[in-house]
Symmetry: C2
Subunit: 407 residues, 2 copies
């Protein structure tokens, strides 16, 4: 346990704000979507926060997620829950990517994915606000993170996932103390069921962006990246985009860091990466519209980005456009090839969604959207160990050894 988990520190949350209308909401009570049906964003008194926390003091703290406490919503230290939210490493992939490509390996977080960032924060806030029962739709990794943290916080949890969710996810959710249901539908259809129960008062709805705090946890990706790179941001970020909380969160983090005076006004080009079998944000980006339509017959090997409809679509599109980036769709074959290349050439096993970012980077390079001299960060959102790998072993009989020189 690090000092970040036990130290009493001030919180600087002032209020919540509708991401569409700017309408103010009270911070210290349970909130879902705004009256306009849009995500609520947490706002801070950043001037006061910057007075209380100098960059040098931040740098002297242990590097885990809770080092950012003054920029996070949890008020009381006793509500912090933790399974070891370490700072995730940046790993070069010179052969499969290029000499200026770093992978931020989010698979090292608790429960093996970046979902831990959002859920540790949301569950801590649920604890702070007295929530007793949570339900959430998931494509797998979010459910695993929720289960682990909710169990730790003593909160009862139900998780609904598409029937073909990666098997290990379904099982780890149950092992970590949540009830898990397989639904004959996609994640938004699971979400609809969760919504019905929430309206009936059966549980609190933890769907992506339907409560205000997952985004605050996810924004630590942006905070952390800036600190790791010496308060300089990369030229481009490739981010696997389902619900898009992380992309929206990083964009928010960069603004907060600039207001603190810790970084300048430069921003990375933000690339929202989707699979061609489920690319609603890409379509909306290309069509020049602000909201995305539901993607019908969504399919991709990258289960985590199989999200036909994202409630934060306009926030994703706004960040991508303001940054001068793009929303890019990649083919299934390219996802598989990129994932295989990273492992076989650089020894780094990515998840398919991480592989998708490498595939998108390669395409962007070819299309001239980025140059090989640009420093680029790809987000590997989960450990590659959760996904099926090919069996390429051979058999050796100890009782009838071949000529070993031929192995």
């Amino acid at each position: 346990m690090t000092a970040n988990l036990v130290g009493e520190r001030r919180t600087f949350v002032t209020h919540l704000e509708c991401s569409l209308t700017g309408e103010r909401y009270e911070a210290d009570k349970l909130q879902g979507l705004s009256a306009a049906g849009r995500p609520l964003l947490v706002r801070y008194d950043l001037e006061a926060a910057g007075g209380a926390l100098r960059r040098e003091a931040l740098e002297a703290r242990p590097t885990d997620l809770w080092r950012w406490r003054e920029l996070l919503p949890v008020r009381r230290t006793e509500n912090i829950i933790s399974l070891g939210e370490i700072e995730t490493p940046l790993i070069p992939i010179p052969r499969s990517g290029g000499t200026n490509v770093l992978v931020k390996d989010e698979g090292r977080l608790p429960t093996g994915s970046f979902k831990a960032r959002g859920l540790v924060m949301a569950v801590a806030m649920a604890k702070e606000l007295g929530v007793k029962r949570i339900a959430m739709p998931t494509n797998g990794n979010a459910g695993a993170a929720l289960a682990a943290y909710a169990t730790r916080a003593g909160i009862e949890t139900l998780v609904l996932c598409p029937s073909d969710t990666p098997e290990v996810n379904v099982r780890e959710i149950a092992a970590q103390g949540a009830r898990v249901y397989r639904v004959n539908g996609l994640i938004d259809e699971c979400g609809a069921i969760v919504g019905i129960g929430a309206a009936e008062g059966l549980w609190f709805d933890f769907s992506t962006l339907k409560e205000p705090y997952r985004i605050e946890g996810k924004k630590t990706m942006g905070l952390e990246l800036a600190a790791q790179l010496g308060w300089r941001l990369p030229k481009a970020i490739f981010y696997p985009t389902g619900g898009g909380t992380g992309l929206i969160g990083m964009w928010k983090a960069f603004d907060e860091l600039e207001q603190l005076g810790w970084i300048g006004s430069e921003r990375p080009k933000m690339f929202a990466v989707q699979a061609s079998g489920c690319a609603p944000i890409v379509k909306a980006f290309e069509d020049g519209v602000e909201h995305a339509e539901r993607w019908e017959n969504a399919h991709t090997v990258a289960a985590g980005i199989r999200v036909p409809k994202a409630v934060g679509d306009f926030l994703i599109l706004r960040a991508v456009r303001e940054s001068g980036g793009a929303a890019l769709a990649v083919e299934e074959d390219d996802i598989v090839r990129a994932t295989a290349d990273s492992a076989a050439m650089d020894g780094l096993l990515l998840c398919p969604e991480g592989g998708a970012t490498l595939a998108a980077y390669r395409n962007a390079l070819e299309a001239g959207l980025v140059s090989a001299t640009d420093d680029v960060v790809l987000f590997n959102c989960a450990t590659g160990l959760k996904y099926p790998l090919e069996d390429r072993s051979a058999v050796l009989d100890k009782n009838a050894l071949p000529d070993l020189a031929e192995l």
Copy 2:
């Protein structure tokens, strides 16, 4: 990438030494076992190292494994290879373990296990010493770590594993660029085949403790633990013991830290944890002998500790006895129960070998070998995600929803 990976730093290796006879061997050439057929230990000029690296300077460095460079054997920075060897977190498990129990979660390392520590060091040294081809027997995780690092170092690799090695291990080894063979035998029989090929000059033998550097990587567990706990060691350490490199390595680390004056002479009780279906070290411990006999018909769900015969047996036994600890065998049912409890009660998914340490801790508590007020560290050596979990999901039909209040 951290400053530890690129900074030029001095090395203080003086020589290698036979762990049985104390005979000296030259450091800067390729070495296997000693003439006595025993592991070689790396020796340092610790007085000079302590002069070059003050504790305060060490504390100011990024916390990854390479912060310990002055206590590691790699001479040239260009030979460092890395996939992000972060400092692994210490996670309390108050409900399934107790209020003074911390789990060191080694599953967060590259390729999801503590094997990364040993193999990153051994492969870096193989690179430094010009090795072109490596072969190794494995129960799974070591092979995965070797494959990833050797691929990164551009070294060709063959891995031999028992046919019933966890499926994900066999597959990740191949995905990460090594050739992998399933052998109808246990790990020592795989090792025998590797030995034959090594004798024929076909490859360099990377078996546990048969080259001198894996132990140097593994000793960072002890260095790191001391740093994390503020240069105070816990009362007891429970370590899942197959080949035992980590236990031997930590014991060596504590001595080196004492010689540096960074810790005192107190030591934790070292508990070597084995499964009752493969407990050669436990038998030798109980029989009061210095070497262990091969364990016949070895079997356990905890594949990583299914090691019938360990070349470093006497070193494990020596550390355990000097420390006032014990070698403990745990039943399969207790391993399964402890693993399930940690996940369901504390949200922490352990690997079976990690579960074995929790089971052993519970037994030791009952037997009075440790007390509930002792601070204790359990080693979870790999991510629990690599092992099969039970399916405890239910089905929900979106077209025929039940009363949601009954979920």
